[in-house]
Amino acid sequence: MRNRIELASTHATEFIDITGRIQAEIDRAGLRDGRVHLQSLHTTLGIAINENEPLLLGDFKSLLERLAPQGAGYDHDDFTRRFEIETDEPVNGHAHCRQLLLSAFATLLVEEGRLVLGRWQSVFAVELDGPRRRQVAVQVEGEFARRRESAEALVELELARQLMVDPEAVATPMRRLVEAGGKRIRPKLVQLTAGIGPRNDALRAAELAAAVELLHNATLIHDDYVDESTHRRGRPTVAAAEGPERAIAVGDYYFAKATRLIAEMGNPGVTSAVAEALEAICAAQIDDVALRGAYPGDRESYLRVVRGKTASLFAAACASGALLSDAAPEVVGALRRFGDLVGTAFQMADDMVDFSPSSGKPVGLDVRQKVLSLPLIYAAEDRMVGPEVRRLLAGALGDAEIGRVTELVTESDALPRVRREAEALVEEAVRELETVELDGLRPTLVDIARSAVDRVS
């Protein structure tokens, strides 16, 4: 976010304390943690950080006068030797030279919405050739608390608005799922990346984000039928509550509606990016089911499924937001790779949740459904517990066997190994962001990436 601080100096040399003005810019932008950049837009206006004590400011003025006295025979003041002189050109060689002794810019840190300054520090615009009207350019970057909150509210409003106009037979089950919560990571990624390019429109971003969330939920409704899941987000699944026929219809309706909403945005790149992701999800779901019970399994098969089932929509969310904002192709590419890596790490962390009693989810559900998960693959490879894990997985899995497999996975190095791998993917994702200009959104994207694997302690 950017702005200009307007100043009117009243003396030839003047230290104007702009600390409060900068803090006001931070407040206005809603910056929570990040940086504020200041730049003088004049050759005789400096920026300085020092103590606002009147006698000391007098000392500074004296120092500047001694170092670059006014009228000391500056070539710049000899108008007979210069071209294209304005009629009101000031005699100010001294002011230019004094500015050279100061700085024309500064970057300050912001934490918890406040400028990070020492007890005696103030920020000054230093007038060297006043009195004049002046401008200091300001840009703030980092995590914007209010912007994020309001952006999230926009998505919720858009979801509610879309569900309001749908037939009750489909809207009611979807509303139950949407209102049950969820992490909303995909819409967050859409909204953040939609702020990167020059065409930054919060309402369009919220529309796309809501459509992507509806699409994600549509896939979950079919998944729950396929997995015979009875609950999701603490509520009965559509298939369990209203039967598989209704679940199929609701999933289809929102698949179609979401793709229509996205198409109607009129950005072919966005439409294609999401359509490709949806196809990848469906193909991977087939593989996922086909591989169930194919223990011990292998990492390559697992990664192929995860990249299609989970990472593809993360990647599409990142890319489509950037495409919507007309971001440069290299930015879109970097964000797509970022989403792919974070989505893969996210699914690895999700696999670990299956073995975490503190997660709030039933332990061992993946084992019960014979899903090929990375902790199981690594536990089956483990020298100590591997033989028993493989033997148990090869047989019928009752409660006792599932409990024992869970114990063995937890005892082995499988979970730390998966965590290390997920964290490495996140760091690889973060490195992708370092290659492109992201208009101050990098810290927030990095936070989201790291939170993807921080769900299991």
Partner: protein, 127 residues
């Protein structure tokens, strides 16, 4: 017109469906895509056929398909949708989506659904 060949690479994973109704549906839709460029015609005809076969596989409006068949139907819908996204004019994309919305909302409400094929043929004519 029926000489239009379906793009084989778009049948990846769905080859078994070709002889099981997809080919017939494809040839029906070929007659509805004449207004499009030659290279686009087979893609749009296949998209329509995939969507028709997809909802049929899922059992939409009837008895729910078993899980693995549902997933095959989902892939048909997704691939059809991607073909439309890549090759169809916006009006056709929107018309297809509205057709699926219409059929699925009727199914959810346990009401008689419009005939899918007629809806999709009309969608190909959307301007």
């Amino acid at each position: 017109m029926s000489a239009v060949q379906a793009p084989e690479r778009e049948l990846d994973r769905l080859e078994s469906l070709w002889a099981d109704g997809l080919s017939d549906a494809y040839h029906v839709y070929v007659d509805s895509v004449g207004r499009f460029a030659d290279d686009v015609q087979p893609k749009l005809a296949l998209a329509a056929a995939l969507i028709e076969i997809g909802v049929r596989l899922q059992g939409l409006g009837g008895r729910a398909a078993p899980a693995t068949t549902l997933l095959m139907g989902d892939l048909c819908l997704a691939r059809g949708s991607r073909l439309l996204a890549d090759h169809a004019p916006l009006a056709v994309q929107v018309a297809f989506a509205r057709a699926i919305e219409s059929v699925s909302s009727a199914a959810a409400a346990e009401q008689p659904a419009p005939v899918t094929r007629l809806l999709l043929q009309a969608s190909l004519g959307a301007r």
